[in-house]
């Protein structure tokens, strides 16, 4: 024990230092973005820190519309993905049938196909349906694209909920669906949140699908709106940085709010062995 002490401490110190270095490297571009966004604009009033860039983008671009579009698309994507993936994941988690096992495997294979390979055919299809340049098209594609992983994530979480819990609920008078919602889903908040955040980030950060589908600038999502600041001859870097910061804010706020819910819940105390 005493012999192991110092080397253990050294290992801990090394590890901590390593974590710091990597965190600093990861945060560097983000820090730079924030700093640049707070610089005064060329020709503006000189100051150390200023909100001139933000005022400029709010006044001269549709950034508020884009923010609204992005939020709308992500919200619908998350809600739809959870509504579909939760029951699907439950079936995969509990199902013993060969067909279900096959379906589960299929999801895994589908998941490995990049969505970009399907974007052009999808665009043609959606254009015929009058859904080109429509945010609904994005929601449909994001939900479809995230569904396999989302279903698999939900199934993995449901695996940790003992089947005896829902069986007790069935005997107490629940239907299969009732037991799923009132007992299993109710105790799966961390799993639902992980899945929600995964789908949220997928839709929030998407550029490739949106750039194909969205044409008019009032239907842009933030990543596409950001793109419009890159001009052929000159780029307004201050504005780009400001929009980038605006794009970053919702996920950061979301993580900060939801962080504590990841640790609560769980099934502590329901089984004899705990």
């Amino acid at each position: 024990m005493t012999a192991a002490g110092p080397s253990f401490d050294r290992a801990t110190a090394l590890r901590t230092a390593g974590v710091f270095v990597f965190t600093a490297i990861a945060l560097l571009p983000i820090g730079a973005t924030i700093m640049l966004s707070l610089r005064p604009r060329p020709g503006g009033e000189p100051a150390l820190i200023s909100l001139q860039n933000f005022r400029h983008v709010f006044e001269t671009s549709l950034v508020l519309d884009w923010l609204g579009n992005s939020l709308m698309v992500s919200l619908f994507t998350v809600v739809a993905a959870i509504i579909v993936s939760a029951p699907a994941g439950y079936v995969i988690s509990r199902g013993r049938h060969k067909v279900i096992e096959g379906y589960s495997l299929l999801l895994f294979i589908v998941q490995s196909l990049p969505i970009i390979t399907a974007v052009i055919p999808l665009f043609i299809l959606f254009a015929r349906l009058g859904l080109a340049d429509h945010l609904g098209a994005l929601v449909i594609i994001y939900v479809a694209g995230s569904l396999s992983v989302a279903t698999w994530m939900m199934a993995a979480y449901f695996d940790s909920i003992p089947a005896a819990l829902e069986e007790a609920a069935w005997i107490d008078g629940c239907s299969v669906f009732g037991g799923f919602v009132r007992i299993v889903l109710r105790n799966s908040l961390p799993g639902v949140l992980s899945t929600a955040i995964f789908t949220f980030l997928l839709s929030w950060n998407d550029y490739l699908v949106a750039i194909v589908f969205l044409k008019s600038d009032d239907s842009f999502t933030l990543p596409i709106g950001l793109q419009s600041f890159f001009q052929q001859t000159s780029t307004d870097w201050g504005a780009v940085m400001a929009v980038s910061v605006i794009t970053m804010m919702p996920p950061v706020i979301l993580f900060a709010l939801l962080n504590r819910y990841f640790s609560v819940g769980g099934i502590g105390g329901s089984l004899s062995s705990q």
Binding site: P162, A164, L165, E167, A168, A169, W170, I171, D172, G173, C174, S175, V176, G178, I183, R186, N187, G265, G266, I267, G268, G269, S270, L271, S272, S273, Q274
Partner: protein
């Protein structure tokens, strides 16, 4: 009322059949215990009654109604799980009242019934707590309480006491028994503890490998085990089993030791048999068989002695104090009621009774 019948019930998982046509009639108000070694299909049968497993073939009726196709919620049963399966997000009160809430029982009546069950189980101080804030024994009681408030046709228990320490187990055993005497609700109880079975059951069903070996009251199984398996399973310490032959009215062990048998066994003379002797069937005597004492284990109320007799080590349990020491010789009589004959090939009991 809560009578139950099981007709030729079968169950298979894929190609493997785990229940091979089980039939059982349970009267209203009866306390029936399913016992058997691990993997014999006790839980499977119980879960088929509950509706948690499908019934491959055969029929199960509860209170005169065929329940094969019914969902668990429509069978009017309550079940206590081995691992309790309490709802983690609900308080004790909510756990116990959940079924009543689903049944649409008004809040006031719900509170009243939960309170009554809580009082019976000594759970009143814990009604506001969550399962994770309870000890193992308290959780077990909540699981019981959740079943009791229902007032169902049938209670099902799957090894409800196996996670408790020995003392608490004995206490809960008598509480369950008392509770049954009070409510007289039909109960099917699974355990692999034969003492639990003997002390609690009106009737015991001994199972092995997906079939029923014998059904009877605890004392019927003890006094007249139908085969060697039941003989070895019921009774503690277990019955001694001596292989040998019948010659006239005498049992001849493999090493030639003769044990005279009472009763008329001439009809089965010449057969290879196994003689079963309950440990408590041996009596210290002035004359009779002579055995060598191997170990002496006094427990206070009785003394267990390992004996070398007929080339085998047998267990004897004496009410009397034993003065012999290991290595000494001891003279034994055998009480006839504790002698049993079984066919060596089939393991089946051989009449006539000795």
């Amino acid at each position: 009322m809560g009578a139950m019948t099981i007709r030729e019930a079968r169950k298979n998982y894929g190609a493997v059949e785990v229940l091979h046509g089980v039939s059982l009639d349970i009267e209203d108000g009866e306390f029936v215990i399913l016992v058997g070694p691990s993997g014999c299909g006790k839980s499977t049968l119980l879960r088929m009654i509950a509706g948690l497993e499908s019934i491959a073939s055969g029929e199960i009726t509860i209170a005169g109604r065929t329940v094969n196709g019914l969902a668990p919620k429509d069978r009017d049963i309550a079940m206590v799980f081995q691992n309790y399966a309490l709802y983690p997000h609900m308080t004790v009160e909510e756990n116990m009242g959940f079924s009543l809430k689903l049944a649409g029982v008004p809040v006031a009546e719900r509170k009243e019934r939960v309170a009554a069950a809580a009082e019976m189980l000594g759970l009143e101080p814990y009604l506001g707590r969550h399962p994770r804030q309870l000890s193992g024994g308290q959780r077990q009681r909540v699981a019981m309480g959740r079943a009791i408030v229902r007032n169902p046709q049938v209670y099902l228990f799957d090894e409800p006491l196996s996670n408790l320490d020995a003392k608490l187990r004995v206490q809960m055993r008598s509480e369950i028994k008392l509770n049954h005497q009070r409510l007289r609700t039909t109960t099917v109880y699974v355990t692999h503890d034969q003492i639990e079975a003997m002390t609690m059951a009106d009737r015991i069903v001994v199972m092995r490998d997906g079939t029923i070996e014998q059904i009877g009251t605890p004392l019927e199984l003890y006094d007249r085990p139908a085969n060697l398996f039941v003989a070895g399973f019921i009774g503690s310490p277990a019955m001694n089993q001596l292989p040998g032959r019948l010659e006239g009215g005498t049992f001849v062990a493999e090493d030639g030791t003769c044990i005279p048998l009472p009763g008329d066994v001439s009809g089965v003379s010449g057969r290879d048999v196994v003689l079963g002797i309950r440990p408590e069937g041996f009596l210290p005597a002035m004359e009779g068989l002579t055995a060598e004492v191997v170990t002496v284990e006094p427990t206070g109320s009785e003394t267990q002695v390992m004996l070398r007799l007929a080339g085998q080590v047998l267990t004897a349990a004496f009410r009397e104090r034993v003065t012999q020491r290991p290595g000494d010789a001891i003279t034994l009589g055998i009480e006839h009621a504790h002698l049993h004959l079984f066919d060596a090939a089939t393991g089946e009991r051989i009449g006539p009774d000795l």
